[in-house]
């Protein structure tokens, strides 16, 4: 199994992530597919960050971007057949959790002050 994967990596550049008894369409998923999904998530995160004014949703969008990076890491880790990517993702999740805790605390604080979650209400400092 491992040998097969390694072999396919080396010969065709075709990365088979799934078991051989998976449906064909899934069993031929390449690295590219994963990277595409990851990039799409990242882009969606940015777009969401730019378009939504609710602080919580904006924060979730950054989380989406983090997870996009996580997905890319996992995919690359699988491609390279080492665990660096996976371990990186664990730490990314940790940081994301820490940021989430901070973000929620911050959001509560801000909501108490303005009675609103609209990010654009905070525009006193400028120039």
């Amino acid at each position: 199994m491992h040998a097969l994967l390694a072999d396919s990596t080396l010969t065709g550049g075709l990365l088979t992530l799934a078991q051989s008894d998976f449906p064909h369409a899934l069993s031929t998923l390449t690295l590219n597919h994963y990277l595409f999904v990851s990039a799409a998530m990242f882009a969606l995160g940015i777009i969401g960050f730019l378009t939504r004014r609710n602080l919580i949703i904006m924060f979730l969008c950054t989380e989406l971007m983090f997870q996009a990076a996580g997905l890319a890491l996992i995919a690359f880790g699988r491609y390279h057949l080492n665990f660096d990517g996976q371990s990186f993702v664990i730490f990314v999740l940790t940081i994301a959790a820490a940021e989430a805790a901070m973000a929620l605390a911050l959001v509560v604080l801000l909501f108490r002050r303005r009675e609103s979650l609209d990010a654009d209400l905070w525009a006193e400092l400028k120039g």
Partner: protein, 744 residues
């Protein structure tokens, strides 16, 4: 005695010497010949520098006593004693070298002339020793004089005066003792600065400030010549260190190997250096600053503008004599001769017509400096240098006597308002000192001034016209000037110091020297009252012990300086000193052939009689025109009042020439018209150009960032989080697109 003292000094400082042994050894290696001096020689300039620091500290503590003066005088006295020890310990022929530290070291290649090195190093030969002896000695005495003279200004002004005074001695020592032209330049600019500071000492008085400015600006023009001369010296000979320079000149080749006589530098460098020397020593076109410099306190006039600083130019030419002699055509020496002789005559013509006694002394200084230059020019370096030495003493005496008069008569300097000081209580010492000074200046037989002046004039006749063009004519001009000198000198003496007692206090009724403190200081002079009654209550006050002591010592010095003529076997003591220095001129090698004759006699012998005749003639004329009745007017005078003399109708008859002479031949006005006015017009033109075009451009370029700043700031920094995020993302996109565009 002196030698043993030197040994003791050596022992005291042996620890320090041991520490610096390495450096000293290095200096010995660097010097091609000569001996390494003891380290304490370095103290000679450094003690006055210490004085600057101490006096400045006193100023910080707002010291009101005479402490600054005592510190200065003490340190200067030690400095003088050290110089004396150095002289006594000197072997009489080899130069003493001492390098304290490496000062400048620039190197841009290995070839000759690609290393500019100058140590903070000293070079003691006969010339610098002679100079240092009278510089430190006179500075010490004049400092003592100033301690009394400046007493009305005790406090900050007093500290300011003595700080600059000490700084001057330090600078002058660097100038004279330096072992390279850069050290000389350091001192040169330093003395210029101190001169400026001290001329403008009464900074609330516009004329004093203007005079300081004038001195500074005129000196700058001369300094340009010096600087260019130095740079050319470096590019031509590859060094600025005296020994190396003279060795190079001695080979007759430039650093590049070209024979010197074929280069243009061989006459250009001495001429440029002469420009610097003439500026500092107030010769020819540059003399105008010196009379105005008399605005400074009298001790300053005596020390800086008579005895020492103004002789720096003479020192420079004497020091660089090998360079002047290297030119086979003697172009620069001829220029020096005629520059000196014409200046001597010209300023004498002005001096005869002036009424301000201090100004007369100023013009006489210019005139005497002219003698010195003429002496150097006609190869009488011994005479020139000896005249520097004697002149330092008698001119200091004269100035200090005038200063005592000024001090006692509330700033009165007009000879038409003063008469008969001999008969006023407390002024006897001043009058005697003045008489001795006047006799020296007028070349009265067997005075120092008589011998030194004769050496110059005689040599002018000895040196053939083929060597120095018109040498003998210059001699005649100098002889005529000697007569005029005797006349204007004794004109002062006969009018002010003898005769009927008449006096009027000066306009400031305090001392002339303290305008800014007119009501700040009450003290014992007794004429602090308001101006109007002060004239009635005015009592002249004679000098106290300090001034009298200094005048006495200086008078003795004047008398003794004559004796120096008989010392040693090279035309007196000064000759011996010059002989052991770079200023020595082997006249036989230069002139060759037979000595010229004057009236069928060797000039050196007959000159004693001729110049005595001119001197006596001048004195008798002065006595006839200005002397009082009786023995004090040599029995031929007829003056009974202060203001009217036999000269007046003649001066009236000679109008307008006499008026012109009084107005100093309108040279200042001429300069103003020819130089200052066009410069001012240009300045205004440039000012407008600057204002419209240059400032306009600057404002334009200054406005551009401002406008773009507002544009960027208002459009991007809106304060809204989403705008920021959008711009950040858009910015990333733009940056990435730029990268891609540049790459593909």
């Amino acid at each position: 005695m002196g030698v043993s003292m030197t040994t003791i000094m050596d022992a005291i400082l042996s620890a320090a010497v041991a520490q610096h042994g390495g450096e000293a050894a290095h200096a010995a290696v660097a010097a091609s010949h000569g001996v390494t001096g003891p380290l304490w020689i370095g103290l000679i300039p450094l003690l006055p520098l210490l004085g600057v620091v101490l006096v400045t500290l006193l100023a910080c503590f707002n010291e009101k006593s005479k402490m600054p003066a005592w510190i200065s005088v003490g340190l200067l006295a030690v400095s003088f004693l050290l110089t004396l020890f150095a002289y006594l310990g000197w072997n009489g022929h080899d130069a003493i070298h001492l390098k304290l530290w490496d000062w400048i070291g620039l190197s841009w290649g290995d070839l000759r002339g690609q290393t500019l090195a100058a140590g903070f190093a000293f070079y003691f030969d006969g010339l610098s020793l002679l100079w240092m002896l009278f510089v430190t000695g006179l500075a010490c005495l004049i400092g003592l004089y100033a301690s009394e003279y400046m007493e009305h200004d005790a406090g900050l002004g007093y500290c300011r005066f003595f700080a600059a005074f000490n700084l001057f001695v330090f600078s002058m020592s660097c100038l004279v003792m330096g072992d390279n032209l850069l050290m000389l330049f350091l001192g040169w600019e330093g003395v210029g600065l101190c001169s400026y500071l001290l001329i403008g000492y009464f900074y609330k008085k516009k004329s004093a400030v203007d005079a300081g400015m004038k001195a500074f600006v005129v000196n700058r023009i001369g300094d340009l010549g010096l600087l260019m001369g130095m740079l050319l010296t470096f590019t031509t000979f590859g060094t600025l260190q005296y020994d190396a320079l003279f060795n190079q000149i001695h080979t007759g080749l430039t650093a590049g190997g070209t024979p010197l006589s074929q280069t243009w530098q061989v006459w250009a460098i001495p001429l440029l250096l002469m420009g610097g020397a003439f500026g500092k020593s107030a010769q020819l076109f540059f003399y105008v600053w010196l009379p105005d410099a008399m605005e400074g306190p009298t001790p300053v006039s005596a020390l800086i503008h008579a005895a020492t600083m103004v002789t720096a130019g003479v020192y420079l030419v004497a020091r660089m004599m090998p360079l002047y002699l290297a030119d086979p055509a003697h172009i620069a020496l001829t220029a020096v001769t005629w520059g000196g002789a014409i200046t001597a005559f010209w300023s004498a013509t002005i001096a005869v017509a002036q009424f301000d006694i201090k100004r007369i002394m100023g013009y006489s200084t210019i005139s005497q400096l002219g003698y010195m230059f003429a002496g150097l020019g006609v190869l009488a370096t011994t005479g020139g240098v000896f005249h520097v030495f004697t002149h330092a003493f008698f001119k200091a005496t004269l100035f200090l006597s005038c200063g005592a008069v000024m001090h006692g008569f509330a700033g009165q300097l007009d000879m038409r308002k003063l008469s008969g000081l001999w008969s006023i209580n407390g002024f006897r010492v001043v009058v005697i000192a003045m008489l001795i000074g006047c006799l020296n200046l007028s070349g009265f037989p067997f005075t120092g001034g008589y011998f030194s002046k004769d050496m110059i004039i005689a040599e002018a006749f000895v040196t053939p016209d083929s060597v120095i063009a018109g040498s003998s004519w210059a001699g005649w001009l100098l002889l005529l000037t000697a007569g005029m000198t005797a006349y204007y000198t004794f004109r002062v003496f006969f009018r002010v110091f003898v005769g009927p007692v008449v006096y009027e206090p000066g306009e400031d009724l305090h001392a002339h020297d303290d305008h800014e403190h007119a009501d700040a200081h009450g003290h014992g002079h007794g004429h602090d009252d308001a101006h109007d009654h002060a004239a009635e209550h005015f009592h002249p006050h004679g000098p106290k012990w300090a001034i009298n002591l200094v005048l006495t010592l200086l008078s003795v010095g004047c008398i003794l300086s004559a004796g120096l003529y008989f010392l040693g076997d090279h035309h007196g003591w000064a000759g011996g000193m010059v002989h052991a220095s770079s200023a020595v001129v082997d006249t036989h090698a230069v002139e060759g052939g037979e000595e010229a004759l004057l009236f069928g006699q060797p000039p050196h012998e007959i000159m004693f009689y001729i110049s005595a005749v001119f001197g006596f003639g001048g004195i008798l004329l002065a006595a006839w025109f200005h002397g009082p009745k009786g023995i004090a007017g040599l029995l031929i005078g007829g003056r009974t009042t202060a203001a009217e003399v036999r000269m007046d109708p003649i001066a009236k008859a000679l109008r307008p020439i006499s008026t012109w002479a009084v107005r100093k031949w309108y040279v200042d006005e001429f300069y103003h018209l020819v130089l200052v006015t066009p410069l001012k017009i240009f300045a205004h033109l440039f000012h407008w150009f600057d204002k419209l075009i240059v400032d306009g451009l600057v404002n334009f370029f200054g406005a551009t960032p401002r406008v773009s700043s507002d544009a960027i700031g208002e459009s991007t920094q809106t304060g809204v989080l989403h705008d920021y995020a959008l711009r950040m993302v858009a910015g990333i996109a733009v940056v990435l697109v730029v990268v891609v565009l540049v790459l593909f």
